[in-house]
Symmetry: C2
Subunit: 305 residues, 2 copies
């Protein structure tokens, strides 16, 4: 019944990633009321990707929906509502918030996917009660969401969290970005698969599979170990700078569970001899974090929380 | 005349560093009314260091003084008012705020020196109007002060900003902290002098002298260049994570001016090919930043600003 549902209201959260668009309509208390998952038509070009986001938003909104929160991979200018550059999505300078707003006639916010996930873990997941939180999203690329004093850190240009291109191995292997030794070359799911295949590994193996093959496939074992060590180096720099109370590992690779978390903890602790390392844990919201975080950003923007 | 001076009030700022204690009594508008600079008696042990801080505080307070803001090198727990560990000062778990408070009978705050300097540059110096600010203090050691959204980031344990031990060269040269390849091994004044002397350089040369000797002393040139490149690596990681609107270089090494700033800018820009690097500038408050910042922290704590 529209009447009573309008009294409570709903919000749509959309998470735009390189492989799929995850969407849900949520109650204002965060219960999932309806879900949509569609592949991201990256191969069909940016217009098709934007159209798919608009369709997902339209299909989920209903009369009681108060707004749509979108989060996206790539370089996201939250204030302007623009995806500045998202290589895995083929987007560049797309005013996604305005486009979706005009299509659905509702308030729309845009946030970076790792920042949205960080907010969701802080409010609803592994980071509840932790005001200084670092979330690292391991997927096709690698980026971070930072919360200090309970507030997200977008940075001066909305580019905060792009540690995938932090130089963990100066003069190391080349990165598609044009630089050398970037963290995501070694530690993202995409980077590990590229390194494994180019060294002659089984082309059918995904990065998540590699985590389970480390004992029987020495090449997978080496690439996985080097990835975890690189992640340890990147995390050490971030931990020393920010002193987070908790580090949450998120994104596609977290299906590996302790095969991911345990070696990362070891790599971090081994390089923070003079201070206690923060706890490092796996996201509890998993693939849902982006959708919930995007919806929370929209709710915060309307003053409803 | 005490009467009229009491009406306006004053605040004492003290900056405790490895070589000296810099102190001043300031008007509530930040004018310096009186100054004290004394050597830090590190060789005489922690009791003597604490006594020197207390004496400096006593000598500067007058009847209209509303409180004493102290900032210190080392690991500083701002909330607890405790210097957890300061190798260059020989201090460990010293409740400095309480000790000074009991000695002078006034409110006392304790802050990390780089965070205090960052706040001062934000309010009074090179970073005015910049809410996302990164300050790097280059002295005997190397640490950072971080401001996001206009607020200092102390971190969950008060250990934020300790990027001197970020691993810029994994498996690099040993650091007194027990790890390898730490940023401050290469880029702090103390680290550059150690590297220069152990390679046979002129024992009379300071790090600041090295900056001016790079053209006639090839060893000084190499050590200086490697230091600036290491600082570029450390800054790239920090810039990617936080996206500051400005980077301020502070501390003893900044006397080198453009001989410091120019190569750091080059090293940073060379490794941020896909994004615009933030401006990098030299502190305008120089050696005064800590004193002003310590006083500002005290004023903020009393609600007077």
């Amino acid at each position: 019944m529209i009447g009573s549902s309008a009294a409570s209201g709903s919000v749509v959260g959309l998470d735009l990633g390189g492989t799929g668009i995850n969407g849900a309509r949520l109650s204002l208390h965060g219960e999932v009321l309806e879900r949509v998952t569609i592949p991201t038509p990256v191969a069909e070009g940016p217009t098709a990707v934007v159209r798919a986001v608009v369709e997902a938003a339209r299909s989920l909104t209903c009369p009681d929906t108060i707004g749509v929160g979108v989060c996206s991979a790539g370089l996201v200018d939250t204030g302007a509502g623009v995806v500045r550059r998202a290589g895995n999505l083929g987007l560049r300078d797309v005013p996604l918030a305005r486009i979706v707003r005009e299509a659905v006639g509702l308030p729309v916010t845009l946030e970076h996917d790792a920042r949205a996930a960080c907010l969701a873990e802080h409010r609803l997941g592994a980071g509840r009660g932790v005001g200084d939180l670092l979330l690292v999203a391991l997927g096709a690329g690698l980026s971070a969401g930072v919360l200090t004093g309970g507030r997200l850190v977008p940075g001066s240009l909305g580019l905060g969290g792009e540690i995938g291109h932090a130089p963990v191995h100066p003069d190391g292997e080349g990165c598609p970005c044009g630089q050398r030794g970037c963290l995501e070359v070694y530690a993202s799911a995409g980077g590990m698969v590229r390194r494994y295949r180019s060294a002659g590994g089984d082309p059918a193996l995904s990065a998540a599979d590699m985590a389970h093959a480390v004992d029987r496939d020495p090449l997978a074992g080496r690439i996985w170990t080097e990835g975890m060590e690189a992640l340890g180096l990147g995390l050490r720099s971030a931990i020393l700078l920010l002193d987070p109370g908790l580090v949450v590992l998120a994104g596609g690779l977290t299906g590996a569970g302790e095969r991911l978390a345990a070696p990362v903890r070891t790599a971090v602790a081994g390089g923070l001899a003079w201070r206690r390392p923060p706890p490092i844990t796996i996201s509890t919201l998993g693939a849902e974090a982006g959708v919930h975080g995007a919806a929370l950003v929209l709710l915060d923007s309307t003053g409803r929380r």
